[in-house]
Symmetry: C2
Subunit: 160 residues, 2 copies
């Protein structure tokens, strides 16, 4: 590694420490905690987009085509995040703290992948429809919401 690269890299690495990333310190438990928090951040961002879209669908906020598109487009991008670093082996409710992830996510990985792909498809359809008009938004919310709920039903354990 040349000196030319080393200086900005040092700056980048100091930033990594600064942002308090939970992984990368060689401790498996911290890496697992980081993965659990990361997927919960992802879920909260799903909820943020769905909240904006749901407010419009329910008529609590005015329909805004640009805002609906932004929310649904973000949802679709978030749904496609690589799952391999989020759903790490062993991060199971009852085995580690702070998660409601069922063991079936890993023991039935094909089913979980199918549920996740349904969510991706639902979010893509919502991203295509949300900016058209309120009826189109409402129509596409059904499938997306169903995909969210189906995965929660099958792969999320009870509240502690």
């Amino acid at each position: 590694m040349s000196q030319k690269i080393a200086l900005p890299l040092m700056a980048a690495l100091s930033l990594v420490t600064f942002v308090g990333a939970a992984s990368g310190d060689g401790h498996a438990d911290k890496a697992m905690k980081g993965a659990i928090e990361a997927r919960q951040d992802q879920m909260q961002l799903f909820g943020y987009s769905m909240g904006i879209l749901g407010g419009m669908a329910k008529g609590e906020t005015d329909y805004d085509s640009a805002k609906a598109t932004a929310a649904a487009t973000n949802l679709a991008a978030l749904a496609k995040l690589d799952r391999s670093i989020l759903w790490v082996e062993g991060s199971i409710q009852g085995e580690v703290e702070g998660t409601r992830a069922k063991a079936t996510i890993w023991s039935d990985s094909a089913g979980f992948e199918k549920a996740a792909m349904d969510m991706e498809a639902g979010a893509d359809a919502l991203a295509s429809a949300a900016g058209t008009d309120l009826d189109a938004l409402r129509g596409a919310m059904g499938a997306a919401g169903k995909a969210c709920g189906a995965c929660h039903d099958d792969y999320r354990g009870p509240r502690n």
Copy 2:
């Protein structure tokens, strides 16, 4: 809206309430709080990816091409989330609780957009390089980390 659409829509809307989305209830303060939390979730997800990559760059964890690609690809996707629903007008440090966003994000919106585009470009370069080998990862981390730091320096206020 036909009855055929109405039933899944109802299910979707009940989910929106269930996931506790902060927006869509007609209260501007809750919408602003939701936006602040959403961009902080995004930042934490940036940090999660950078933590994985930084651990490898520092030699604290073994270099893993697939994992590096997953982390950097997620970073690049997250960097491209539509900012209009995250950086909402008025969500400024000192004016509302729970944010360190400077007023200059809005008063110097062209500068903020430039900083954000630099971050997108840095994350894209990292996504392209991360899976090649450890030296390529280290090289690309410099530019990405610099983009993170530059935006924090200019547009993030002090800790409270």
